[in-house]
């Protein structure tokens, strides 16, 4: 049995990593999750690492600089902050912790040496990103309280997620000594602890579900903690349960449907009636595929949380709508 909803364990997590197959709506879910976790007077930070300014587009705001800024409020006096981590800026920031680079930093940036260094060692980028993420999770104010109650990461897609999070392994190849080694051990500790949950976004389609299951197995294997599965873009169940199988096979009584519609005052041509039936058969076939997908998803044995399809598309209002659905399903942060 799949446990429903948000677990107690998840209410205590401080870092929520959101991954999923490309096209499943990972950024949208991450944003809605940040709003939900910030609800009720909390402060959440939403981070993106792939430089595509997805957060800014979603919140309809100008491109984010490499600095944390408030991007939205959450119901009940909550705040959502956002940060787009940039590898170059993170490397310079990191170097500045240990060396006084002065003007050299700017020169290096201009000649592309930093871009070069971060692409030369493929893991370096991820090391810098996860290092920055850890810093935001652990940051406290003067009173010792955490700056953010929750940090939500719009993470790389499922295919890359374990490689991304498992910096310890990357470090074996990269640095055997030096300051970055010590730091990366701290990052690994956070990511492998109960403070971190890796959520998976999926659609009720075969491929995304398969990738989700693969990713869960991979996460388990790497001793990283899978959190919840967010089933995105769930369509309302319109058809009466008894007819789905028959409808998928095309066994619908067109004449009877026509007669029923007529009693309610809608008289259709045979063509239109046939097309309506076609749309229904199409839908029923899809429903069956969705049910199979849901059955498969149970194998993950993770809490599943549904998010409805927004027929109007995702805009800022839509994000709040999704956040509300999350809160209704128990998503919250307990200090």
């Amino acid at each position: 049995m799949t446990p429903p909803g948000w677990t107690d364990e998840l209410t205590r997590a401080r870092l929520h990593v959101v991954t999923g197959k490309g096209g499943t709506g990972k950024t949208t879910v991450a944003a809605a999750l940040a709003i939900a976790l910030a609800s009720g007077g909390r402060r959440a930070l939403l981070i993106e690492v792939e430089g595509r300014q997805g957060i800014a587009q979603l919140f309809d705001s100008p491109p984010l600089p490499y600095a944390e800024q408030r991007i939205a409020s959450a119901p009940g006096d909550g705040e959502v902050w956002a940060l787009a981590v940039d590898a170059e800026a993170a490397l310079l920031e990191y170097l500045a912790m240990f060396y006084n680079l002065g003007f050299a930093g700017r020169t290096l940036k201009r000649m592309g040496a930093i871009e070069f260094a971060t692409t030369l060692a493929p893991g370096l980028r991820d090391v810098l990103f996860t290092g920055k993420i850890k810093e935001t999770v652990g940051r406290t104010d003067d009173t010792g309280r955490h700056r953010y109650d929750a940090v939500v990461l719009d993470a790389p897609p499922t295919g890359r997620i374990v490689k991304f999070l498992d910096v310890t392994k990357a470090m074996v190849d990269l640095a055997k000594v030096g300051p970055i080694k010590g730091q990366s051990e701290g990052v690994a500790r956070l990511l492998h602890s109960g403070d971190t949950a890796v959520h998976l976004v999926t659609l009720l389609e075969e491929m995304p579900v398969r990738e989700t299951l693969d990713a869960v197995a991979e996460l388990d294997g790497a001793d990283l903690r899978p959190g919840a599965v967010f089933v995105n873009r769930v369509r309302p169940d319109r058809l009466p349960a008894g007819v789905i199988a028959a409808a998928a096979k095309g066994r619908l009584d067109q004449a009877e449907i026509g007669a029923d519609l007529k009693t309610a005052g809608l008289t259709l041509t045979d063509d239109d009636l046939a097309e309506l039936v076609c749309e229904t058969v199409d839908h029923a076939t899809r429903l069956q595929a969705e049910r199979r997908a849901r059955g498969q998803l149970k194998k993950a044995d993770l809490p599943a949380i549904d998010l409805p399809e927004l027929t109007g598309g995702v805009d800022v209002a839509g994000l709040y709508e999704l956040a509300e659905t999350l809160v209704e399903q128990g998503v919250r942060r307990v200090r």
Partner: protein, 376 residues
Amino acid sequence: MTRPEIVDIDALLDNPATRVIVCCGSGGVGKTTTAAALAVRAAERGRRTVVLTIDPARRLAQSLGLRELGNQPKPVRIDGFEPAGELSAMMLDMRRTFDDMVQATAGHGRAEQILANPFYKTISTSFSGTQEYMAMEKLGQLAATGNWDLIVVDTPPSRSALDFLDAPQRLSTVLDGRIIRLLSAPARAGGLGIRKLVGAGFGLFAKAVSTIIGGQLLQDASAFVQAFDSMFGGFRERAAATYTMLRSPGTAFLVVAAPEPDALREASYFVDRLASEGMPLAGLVVNRTHPVLAAVPPSRAVATAEELEKTGTAPLAAAILRLHADRVAVASREKRLLARFTKAHPGVAVVGVPALPTDIHDLAGLREISLRLAGA
């Protein structure tokens, strides 16, 4: 509203002057499926076709009879598939393509030296951009054989469609080796000259970088670059030749998208980029659309559904009307998104491919997609 022209897929496939079709677009939009379906249709219409897929989903690969990474095209042999032309398919093996290229370009002793270098392993398997570069290299090789009338190419599953054009340049910069030389031996490579150029901070930077990524890696990189130096010219020439082919009239780019804001935004960037590079665009393929079939106004459908729900006598008829109204809502959103694209790119022909209710796992599915692509 301006109505875009519709992409005439059959005319494109039938035209003997069309030698290469490149399917590009952001990840998750169904590029590989589109490429495979186009190839199936081209073969059935009589052309000797090969499809180069990059990272196909397992079932899609199986539907083409591909079971493993083979770095050479294999004829597609499936019961009931007897095309008038020919169809071969292959999956790109990035590492093997790179190895082959090194062996073909470098002298024998040199090649061994390069292939054994640890840094080469990093570059050939996990450098971002290698896949794109190798896809182009393979395309160049396939074209050079002269065995095919038509080559259909899928592009790597990158976040941005632009990566396909930009990544080879990135790799080229690394292999060019100037920066590697600077980093690995700043004093020897440049002495005072370099200092003047980049400022005194460079030595410090090189030190910092080598602390972070490890001195060994830099040494490997340096050795690799020295060995690679002799073949670098040839390497760049090949890439330049492929690039020229992409700009030739025998090539057609099809930009693939889904009716989603992100995917269409990427498509939009890519269309602009193709125009500025002088690369021939055949049109936009919008996968997984949900066109409305029945001409029943949604307000009418909802009102009637409410009527039926009141009495509760015909739940199925009511549900059918609700479904129809949902479908109209989705379709109008998709139309709105597409209209926005067309407004920005009025000259770009578009073809919508209605969604199949299930995943594609066999040739019949690919054929169905190809019919929808061709508007047949």
